[in-house]
């Protein structure tokens, strides 16, 4: 840990002229380590990519082949029309559930996080602890209760029910992250905005939200990915195959005796792609450290 933390300070410095000699070599070693580590962690993707381009007989061949002997890019077209699952509908379900769940979780979490970060009240700790406790509950255990509830409300087997479930199961996390980001902004900044004549809404929009923007981006990424990958609740609560998200659709390709591994890997890659693109689009918000400029 000490070796890690010793290096931390220079990361927050402004760019310095590169040191010659030892420092330079260290930098290159870090680059090499970075690339090697990244490749090791990326290896399963290479396997998925290669596997998704093999024919069904070849992927079940013993001993396994490293590269496909015949390339089958048409796997990516054929997987949308299989008897196993309606993949187009599955993709749409995943998108709707993830967007809805993320939006709802953020809308419910922001006011709660702001209020608990700014105000001291008697029920603050009980409230935050209660929120934390909900994190321990899980769809697999609560599924039977949720199912009965949705039947009563007439919401069973709908995408909206899964939006609610995803928002609720990610709320705790969103509240705690945003709580810590709101607490990181000194009260004085907000009070200065009020003194300058901002209303509460204005100070929230023009001062607070820009300052906690990295937190919001972090929360959105975390929540969206969690919704995107949710499996157990959808499996139990969405019996209609056109409502099921991609994660549940994946299981249809794996049978006890006969598995379509090429489609498992193809669908996995399709499912991973949007999230990676989303991340690379907003990566600069994560690293910008927008709070750094505000707290002077």
């Amino acid at each position: 840990m000490t070796t890690l933390t010793e290096r931390l300070p220079s990361t927050v410095d402004a760019p310095r002229p590169p040191k010659r000699g030892r420092g330079q070599r260290k930098r290159w070693e870090l680059t090499a380590v970075g690339v090697i580590v990244a490749l090791v962690f990326l290896f399963p993707y290479i396997v998925m990519l290669i596997g998704s381009l093999k024919s069904r007989p070849e992927i079940l061949q013993v001993p396994p082949t490293y590269l496909p002997q015949e390339w089958h890019p048409e796997n990516y077209v054929n997987m949308w029309n299989t008897p196993e699952t309606p993949l187009g509908s599955n993709l749409l379900s995943t998108v709707v559930i993830s967007l809805g769940g993320t939006a709802l979780a953020l809308l419910a979490a922001l006011p709660a996080a702001y209020f608990t970060a700014r105000h001291n009240f008697r029920l603050k700790m009980p409230f935050l602890l209660l929120v934390l406790i909900t994190q321990m509950l899980q769809p697999t255990v609560l599924a039977s209760g949720l199912f009965r509830e949705f039947v009563t409300l007439g919401l069973n087997d709908t995408l909206f029910s899964m939006i609610l479930v995803n928002a609720a199961f990610n709320l705790s996390f969103a509240v705690w992250i945003m709580h810590s980001f709101f607490r990181g902004v000194p009260k004085e900044i907000e009070e200065a905005a009020w003194l300058d004549g901002c209303t509460r809404t204005q100070s929230m929009r023009r001062v607070m939200l820009p300052l906690v923007w990295p937190g919001i981006v972090t929360t959105v990424i975390f929540t969206f990915i969690a919704c995107w990958n949710e499996f157990a609740a959808s499996l139990i609560l969405l019996p209609t195959d056109t409502n099921q998200p991609l994660t549940v659709a994946l299981t249809k390709f794996v049978g006890q005796y006969d598995s379509a591994w090429q489609y498992v890997f193809g669908v996995s890659l399709i499912g991973i792609l949007p999230v990676v693109i989303l991340f690379s689009m907003i990566e600069k918000h994560l690293v910008a450290g927008l709070t750094a400029g505000g707290v002077k």
Partner: protein, 305 residues
Amino acid sequence: MTVPRQRTRRDGRAAVLYLAPAAVLLVGLMAYPLFQLAQISLYDYNQPQASGAEPLRFLAFANYAELLTDPQFWSVLLATVLFAAVCVVGSLLVGGALAVLATRARPIPRMLLFLAALGAWATPAMAGSYVWLFLFDQDLGLVNEVLAGLGFTGLEGHSWTFDRFSAFGLVAAEIIWCSFPFVMVTMYAGIKAIPSEVVEAAQLDGASWRRIATGVILPILKPLIVIATIQSIIWDFKIFTQIYVMTGGGGVAGRNLVLNVYAYQKAFAGEEYGMGAAIGVVMTVLLLLITVIYLRVQRKSGWQP
């Protein structure tokens, strides 16, 4: 200091306004199902009762008594705790180290690191389990093929998921692979958000790097580290998909079971819903205890939410 009465009342109304959306969501989707879980755990509730063929029989705490005297429960509990501990420590170490590496690395390796992290993270547990299982498959897997090619002929056709510890190790590796990115991205955002003035001020005061790291940077990062640790414990304690997929529902004779899969096997495969609910309640109570202990420790060291 006395606060005017009107002020407190207005604050009370504001509190309701701000906290209501979150509260409604949590009560509606957590409290009611939880109530159901606790209720079912007190009954003899198996397949005949669920289908209405036989009436419900109230058992009070007999399910719990049976569970706590079952040696398999204790062995599953021990395995769950040790397994979660390995996964938590592994994720924190790998994630923390890579976050620091990312802040130090040049743009291209940094981008690769983040691509790997977000890729692993974005992978559904289902897909991640399948690809790892496929890689380590005794006949179809590349790992055995490469090892055989390197001269480890004894490993040809070796099953990684048969032996208890090797199976747990394989699943733990997959879990660390898909959970380190959370730690990494959180720590990275935290390090980047530290105002450079704070560090510069400490430098001007003549503090050493070690002193700045432990006295300035770590305290600033502490709330994030606390969150990352709590999250990891909670996630890894209730692992389900990876164990279920990679060990075929809990391994040979259930020796790779963890509590969550054990509850599922009892409730859904064994159709003992009452007993499954009792395991769920025990699990929830244990997680509650872990969190309470952790918050106590943190508060003693000065952390306040």
